[in-house]
Amino acid sequence: MSQIDAAAPKLKLTLSRDVTDVAYRLLAVALICVTLSLVSDAFLTANNLLNVLRQASLVFFMASGLTLVILTGKIDLSIGATVGLSACVAATMIKSTGSPWLGAAAAIGVGSIVGLGNGLMVTKLRIPSFIATYGMLWVAQGATYYYMSGQSVYGFPAGFRALGSGYLLGIPIPIYLMVAFLAIGYFFTKRTTYGQQIYAIGANTVAARLSGIPVNSRLNLVFVLSGAMAGLASLIYLARLNSAEGDIGETLTLPTIAAVVIGGTSLFGGVGSLFGTFIGGLILTLILNGMNLLNLNANWQPLVTGLIVLLAVWLDMKTRSKTDSN
């Protein structure tokens, strides 16, 4: 009983913080859009905006699972490598069997297995998540390179490619998927016991354990979900690129983490939301799109993404320490 009493006000605070957080970030989206439409004629076209949303959807799929991991106060640095491995396994599966469904199963299966490996290292071997998943990054990347041995696989059935580049009623299909997963994710995190337990573990792991939450099994769950979502993202990526090479996932980890932290999910766990991550991915994509429209060389992308990550975390910590001291 006392537990519920103690949890209630905290939960309320979190929810109201969510609302103001999202409001600030929507404001940032609006500002970026206004700026970009002033500096480039090509920005405010239906084509470009849909393209931004399509790219944002890919970031969202990778970042949504990661958001759950970060909500528990852990981290998954292996996301990019997981996407790469899943994409390559799925690609060869589709080529050899001709069945996109088997490819999809393979991608999500591989992602889940990698995620489970991460989870077990963290829960069973008690290795800190940043180092366990960092080791996994290299194992998965090495496995991808070995598996592909320098080859590339390309040319998939049109039905599969529609997943990444198809349209329905004039809107790219990945956007529908993103909206669907956003809705499912919202329900899962905010309206189910599982979701509440994930927030509780991040807010205070010891308290969560003492109040009877099966912490280890929930941690395994979020790592598996993170891997599975990376597998799903790899399918959409694959369908869009229509080819797979060993280095396909190499540059994806930093932007994914960027989306989550820009979206206001605290790296210390317990605070944040999937909707915030969606907005975070949108902000990042808008900035990169703007750089593109302004003909800024792609070589600037890692630099800008790195700066954005640091700025976002710093702003987040600053506002957090203010609200905490109030």
Partner: protein, 317 residues
């Protein structure tokens, strides 16, 4: 009682010779499988190749002892190499290029330290961010291509000899001696484990823990700058992705060497053995014609196994 003895012997057996066991086992395996392995030129080669890694792994040991991490060090090394080459070409002076590399390394190290110590941003995300920045700068400066045409005097630093000893080994030995001296014989060295194990107490003792952290990350950047000289000399050019990912080998060497990720306990000699272990592993797999992808997987598995035993030991205590 017997459990205490057991735990103690496990902690002694698991800690001190753990990495030595692995090293001896690897040497035995490779020596028996590949005739080219246990020749003097090859063994010297392993040591020379390990010197660059040692320069990164030494400060990484300090950093990990403070419960920190530096994912940017490979990218900073690469940036140092790119800056060295670009400045040396522009000014015609290797010395100026080297000073520029040291400066950019130190600047990135201090930036990491400032972000971590003053802004309280978690180390892994700080250094992931600065990794992106350093990597981006490499690409922007070189436009994605190699910088070639460097003065031929550059080759001495990797291929030359000093009193009959390969020059990289001289640098590595000096670096080890200096870092050993700092860690075990100075006041700064006593702060390093305290930063990881008990930061509050350090603060109460009146130590400015932020400055100490900044100094430690600064040393890391500086060492990356020194390593840049060896790397650039080794490949006689600078390439924007030359040492990207080398931070993983450095972290692996520290982990295999028995330094703890969460308690401020570290062991510099272990790191030295860890570096040689990684060097032997990569060299041996190379001689067996294993692709670099297999090498990466093996290093990753080695880290996971090392951390697994680490976790078992923790469970015993």
């Amino acid at each position: 009682m017997s459990e205490g003895v057991l735990a103690q012997s496990i902690s002694v057996l698991g800690r001190v010779p753990g990495v030595a066991f692995v090293l001896v086992a690897l040497v035995a395996v490779f020596a028996s499988m590949s005739p080219g392995f246990s020749t003097t030129p090859n063994l010297t080669n392993i040591l020379v190749q390990s010197s660059i890694l040692l320069l990164l792994a030494l400060p990484m040991t300090f950093i990990i002892m403070t419960e920190g991490l530096d994912l940017s060090i490979g990218a900073v090394l690469t940036l140092g190499s790119v800056v060295l080459a670009a400045v040396a070409l522009a000014t015609g002076s290797l010395a100026v290029g080297f000073i520029a590399a040291l400066a950019i390394g130190l600047a990135f190290g201090l930036l990491n330290g400032w972000l971590i110590a003053w802004l309280d941003i978690p180390p892994f995300v700080t250094t992931l961010g600065t990794l992106g920045i350093a990597q981006g700068l490499c690409l922007v400066i070189t436009d994605g291509t190699s910088i070639v045409g460097l003065p031929s005097g550059l080759q001495f630093f990797y291929s030359g000899f000093f009193l009959g000893i390969p020059f990289p080994l001289v640098i590595a030995a000096i670096a080890y001696a200096v870092m050993h001296g700092i860690l075990y014989h100075t006041r700064l060295g006593t702060y390093v484990p305290a930063l990881g194990g008990n930061r509050e107490a350090l603060r109460h003792a009146g130590v400015n823990d932020r400055v100490v952290l900044a100094v430690i990350y600064g040393i890391g950047g500086l060492m990356a700058g020194i390593a840049a000289l060896l790397l650039t000399s080794r490949i006689s050019s600078a390439h924007p992705t030359a040492a990207i990912g080398m931070e993983f080998d450095a972290i692996a060497a520290v982990a295999v060497g028995g330094t703890q990720f969460e308690r401020g306990e570290g062991w510099l000699l272990g790191t030295l053995l860890g570096v040689i272990t990684i060097g032997v592993l990569r060299n041996g797999l190379n001689l067996l014609a294993m692709p670099s992808s297999i090498q990466v997987i093996c290093v990753g598995l080695l880290v996971i196994v090392a951390l697994f035993f680490d976790g078992m030991r923790k469970a015993h205590e």
